[in-house]
Structure formats: structure tokens, C-alpha cells
Symmetry: D2
Subunit: 223 residues, 4 copies
Amino acid sequence: MESGKPIIGINLKAYSQAIGMNAVKITKAAEDVSKTYGCEIFVCVMPTDLRMVKSSVSSIKVFGQHMDPVEDGAYTGHITPLALKDAGADGVMLNHSERRLRLDQIDECVKLAVKHGLKTLVCANTPLEAKAVSCFDIDMVAVEPPELIGGKVSVSTAKPEVIKNTVKEVRDVNKYVKILVGAGIKNSVDVKKSLVLGADGVLLASAVAKAQDPKKAIENLIV
Amino acid sequence: MESGKPIIGINLKAYSQAIGMNAVKITKAAEDVSKTYGCEIFVCVMPTDLRMVKSSVSSIKVFGQHMDPVEDGAYTGHITPLALKDAGADGVMLNHSERRLRLDQIDECVKLAVKHGLKTLVCANTPLEAKAVSCFDIDMVAVEPPELIGGKVSVSTAKPEVIKNTVKEVRDVNKYVKILVGAGIKNSVDVKKSLVLGADGVLLASAVAKAQDPKKAIENLIV
Amino acid sequence: MESGKPIIGINLKAYSQAIGMNAVKITKAAEDVSKTYGCEIFVCVMPTDLRMVKSSVSSIKVFGQHMDPVEDGAYTGHITPLALKDAGADGVMLNHSERRLRLDQIDECVKLAVKHGLKTLVCANTPLEAKAVSCFDIDMVAVEPPELIGGKVSVSTAKPEVIKNTVKEVRDVNKYVKILVGAGIKNSVDVKKSLVLGADGVLLASAVAKAQDPKKAIENLIV
Amino acid sequence: MESGKPIIGINLKAYSQAIGMNAVKITKAAEDVSKTYGCEIFVCVMPTDLRMVKSSVSSIKVFGQHMDPVEDGAYTGHITPLALKDAGADGVMLNHSERRLRLDQIDECVKLAVKHGLKTLVCANTPLEAKAVSCFDIDMVAVEPPELIGGKVSVSTAKPEVIKNTVKEVRDVNKYVKILVGAGIKNSVDVKKSLVLGADGVLLASAVAKAQDPKKAIENLIV
């Protein structure tokens, strides 16, 4: 985090407030904020919204929320890297606590993502899980203590040691991966604390996806 | 099948030949054939293509290939009924042999689909599995012996008794559900045999999705 | 239920109070009660306890709590019908709400159980799921509304209509399957209500497995 | 591998030739060989055989083939650490390619195993997966290229670079974990090659579990 500006990942999950045209609206707001404040923001959207969202914005990165570890072919109901790429995805989130993957599936998904030019953000529950996934060729890792997800207190306040330990453990195996932290992140105080503790950015969901004014909710993370 | 015209379900799976603009092309071809010959055709597409495909056609029904048994909310990486509806889906295929569901998930998915106005096609491996899923409030059931899927010989030729038994077993519990059969279906002889054996239609994939001329491949099913 | 005597299924789950010698003790108590009152009781035990429990009793039936849908061979970590049989199992419980199976797995497990002479008890969340599994060649079906499992109020008191509907739906497809009901069952009033509503017996767990005096807890179901 | 003597892990899988009394016979043979040649051998058995096998031998270590990441309680059909311990298990194999676990489940299982005094052997498909699981507090890691499992050519002959890379990657994060290699291992030449390449031992299955003379098959690994 040379620049002191946080990377901000916004996960729209399957919130009814963030489907379709609302996903477009939130992503556009994120793009505006990104341009204004010069920080990197990416948005993780549902597969049904990916193409429309991507074609509605210019510079902001759009991620899928999940990928299956298969290339293409007779895989009914699977999300493939080719499908994500064709729809315009810049990257994909893997192993979110609401959509966990087997270890071998993470390995395979990362290889497929690299092959097809998709950035990867891999989620983890604990510092050691973050270290484990950082053994693979991933771009970003996010640690989110499950018991704090969706809660009122941010991880940077409730469990600062989780951030410190994650940074320590991850750096032990991977110098380049960007480290995000999540769970309960809501404002610029939470974000700054995370950066001070060594993180490169944050991952958040409901604070933006369910906000009455998503743009303001995103700005609140920066100023 | 009063009218003698088959219902034709086309599953594009995750074939690289059927992604994005190719999915649009195949679905348009299906719509043309449907109008010309007056038979009901629906196409099952990947979630990333659903919205674009649906907005490119007028009358033909477009289905998702899978749905998760959750309504909306904190369900990262899930395919929800609200997401499918927002993207324009008319229905959803469930429990395909490449994307099997637990019994309780089928039950829950069917309830959610009914609630949100999505038609349901539920797949089954055997006549008794077809009977079991026909206990729920579904619109169509498809039986596909897994060992024949993607093969050269159609189910109507290789295992006509599977079709007869499926019709017998399903009708024992459900008078209204449409019965489709699949696996190896390629031409109008296969289709007619299926109807003679009591089916209402067919479900197929590679014969259309991987065809050089998808329109011709679909017409071949009728004439 | 000619005799008016209930079938009683006792599921020891993975309760620490019901492991090893405690599983033996509870099963012996169940056998004593079964002999005294002339009603059929079976106990579902963990695979690690199956052989020891079975060799400690004479007449009472001992069931596994789960089976995987594979015959034998390179299936590390699976519970096979041959393994259950060799350990002395009389039957197997399938699709418990804490260990759900895919529809095709239920189908396959039932076929394997029949082939290897294992009785089957298949669990279901709802009357329609109970009907669906009763399409297969099973011996017993148990309906347990998940929201009442482990609770203070029995299904026969809280949701008598679930029992009535289950009986109606199941009998529509299967005249011979024994119908058990579960969730919150604790005493003979709960059991009798269940029989009056048309059930053949009950399935219960914590009321016996965690009881200070398991024998008394089982007797309480009858007198 | 100071001593130059290999650690040998024998996985009985669900082979019909290795159930019940056959599991006892094979484990006794392994114990004899272990005593004669002074090398460490452990046997991974089905949960239904664990107690009987353990009570039939004295010094050899007996492992479970799988554990679920739950402590105890309402977990029907799960294999818990308490159940394994009560049955006499010395350790547990996790994440075998026939019984893969999610990353968070591996993390949780390892913590539970440590808490309950069970040794852990965690399997991996690739050198990087082996490195990833070695981030956790495990005792042994086994790398087995899935495409070679059950085949005629051993990993040490077909893919020596897999062993070298595994040793290199694993030692980068964990100095103490014992490194086993598996897939196609059949004789002392395969074993010696593995040790020369830096492994501490081997993991094998069919070569012993399906052997006409298991004792000889085990001796063949050493002399």
C-alpha cells in the first residue's frame, strides 16, 4: 500500500437491493468514487448481472462471485472461466465463506483463472487459511472472520490481531499478493485502521449493497 | 401430447460453442423453428448469457440451468430466483445429472420457483427418480439415463423401456406434468419414437449446441 | 400398526453421551424395554460403535446412521453397504436432516441396501419429500420438520397436520412402508398422538441419547 | 529421514478384500513387518473396523480415513474426533483424493485433531496443495498425483519432479512435517527412489490391501 490509498472490494452478494439495474447503479457510483479519489475499487456481481454491469461502466473492475473448476463442455449449471470472460469479467472471487471450495478446487480455479486472464481474490476465514491460499498464484487474499460478517463491529476494531497475523503469515509465503480484510467494515476509520495494521484494502458487502445511498456509503470508506 | 408436436428443450450446457453471441444465435434459430413448425421450444442458457439471450428473442422461452434453494440476501455466488427473474428467465432446469441437488433442495427450489413465477423442469436418472420429483409441483420432468448422455444411440432406441416405465410411474402420481426424455436424441426418428412411447417431448444438448448449423440441427428433430 | 404398538427408532447421533460403551448401554436398555413391552425398537449408531453394539445385544435391530452410494473399492472415507453388513448392521438410516443426500444418491443407496439385505429408513423434511422417497423400495420413512428437531414441543402437538398429510401423501404411492414421525418426541402422549394421526411409530434422539436414565426415557415413550 | 527407514502408510480404502477380519489380518501383518524391520507403519481403516483392528494389535498405529469438522452433538452420520478416539484411533487421514475437504474444513479438522490428540495425515494432489496444507499444524502430508493413483507406474518413476517440488515447497513453510508420496507405489525400488528424492515415506493402498499375501506385499516395500 505504497500510495496509502486502500483497495476496496464491494461484494453485492445476492441482496435483492443489488440486483439488475441496482447492480449497475452501485457499480457506477463506485466508478465515480474511484475516479474522484484515485483509489482502486472492484465490484463482485451475480453472474446474471455481469455482462450488463460491465457494459455500463468503463474503468472499474467487475468480478464474478464464484467460478467452478472446469474449463468448458458438458457442465450444466456451472460458472466457467470462458463464460465469465465472455461476459466481461475482469476477475473472480473464490472461496467466499458463503460459497466455500475444496482445496483442490481452489488450486484448479486459480490455474484456470490465470490461464484465462482473470484476476483472483481468494477469501479465507483465518490467518492460516489466508497463508494457505497465498501459496497459489493469486492476486488478492481476503480474510474475514465468519463470526463478524454482517455484524456491527468491524474486524479492525474487534479483532485487530487477525489482521496483524494475516499480514505476518501471508507475507511469509507471498510478497506480492494484496491483502484485504473484511467483516463489519463500514467507514473510513475501519479502513484506516486496517491499513495501519498492514492490510492493502478492505472487502465489504452490506454496508454498500444495502445502503440507501450507495455512493455516499462508498465515499464514507475513504473520507 | 394431443397435438402430436413435441416439446423440445435445448440445453446449451457450458459448451464453448454456445457461449455469449453463439447462445443468442442458437436461441434465435430455435425461435425461428418454433414459429415455422408450431412446436414449443425452450433453451437453457448459462446465467451470464441469460439476460442478453432473453432480450434478443421475443416468444421463445429461456431457462436457467440451475438455481440455488435460497431466496435472496447474504448468499455470495448463488443463483437466486430473483436474479433469474430479473434477467428475464421464464423457467429453470433443476437437478441435471451434471448438477444434482439434494432431495430437500429440489423441494425448496420448486417452491421458490412457483412463488416467483418460474417454470420448472426437473431432471432424473431413472423412472423412479422421475416419479419421485413428480410428487412436487413441477411443470416438466426429464428422464435421462446417465450412461447414454452424450452418446451416439438415443434413449428411445437403446432403452425404450425407460421411457415407457417413466410414463407409467410418473402418471401414477402426476397427471399434468410434461414428460421429456433425453440422452442421445439427434433426429426426428428419435423424437417420434419418444412420443409414441408416451413422452411429451425431448431434452437435448450437444446435437444442437455443438452443431455447425444449429438451425438445421433443430429442424432435423421435427422433420 | 395392527398391534397398536409403536415402532421406536432411536438415533444416537454424535452425542458425546452416547459414544462407545454408552452406545452399548443405551442399546441394551432399548432391548430390555423392547422385550418387556413387545414393541419394535431399533437404534441408529455411529459406524465406529456399530460392531461393538451389535455384538453386545441379541434381538434388537442396529442401524447405521448413513451410507454412501457406492458398492466397494477405491472409496476412501466412505461408508459402504459391505462395511455396514460386516459390522453387523441390520439396516441403515438415510437422508437425515443432518446428513442430506442428493435424490440420485437416495435412489442408489436404496438399491444397494436392498441388494445387501439392509433395511432402510429414509428421512424427509416434509410430507411431499416423504412421498417422494416412498416411491423407492424402502422399508420405513420418517418425517421430521427441521424447525422442531431438538425442540421442546413434539411434532404431534405442534404440527399434527404434518403427520396427517404425510400419511395421506405416502399412502398414495406406497401401502407397505412404515411411517415414522419425529422432532420433539419425548413421552407416551407424544407417541400415542402420532399413532392416532396414522403413523406407525416415532423417531427420536436427544430425549434418549442424552437422558440420565436412558431405560426410563425409553419406557416413558410407551407407558 | 535420518534413519533411512521409510514411514509407510497403508490405506485400506473400502476394498472388499480389506473389510473386517481381513483388516485385522493386514494390520497384524503390518505390525509384524514393522517390528522385524524397525520401520514406522500405520494403517488407515474404515470406521466400522477401527475398534476391532485397534484392539487386535499392540504397537502399530491405526488411523481413520476421514473425519468431519465437528466436535460432537447433533451430527447424525458424521465421523467425530471423539468417536475416533473412543474407537482407539491414533490419527486420521484427511482430504484424500477420494474424500476431498474444503479448505476451511481442513483447517477446522486439524484443530480438532490436535485438541483431541489425533495425529494428522493430510493428502494433496499437487506440490502447491501440499505446501498449502503444510501451513496448518499437521504431522504428515502426502502428495498423490490423482492421474497415477491405482496405476501401474509409481509416482517416483513417472513424476519424480512432483516429489522434488513437493519437498521444496513444503519445506518452505514447514520444517517438521513428514512428507509422504503416493500413487503406484509397489516395491522397495519405488520406496527408495522416493526417499532419495527427499520424501520421508510412502502412502499406498491397493498393492497391499488387494494383495493375496499382504505381509509379503509390505515386506516388498522394504527389502
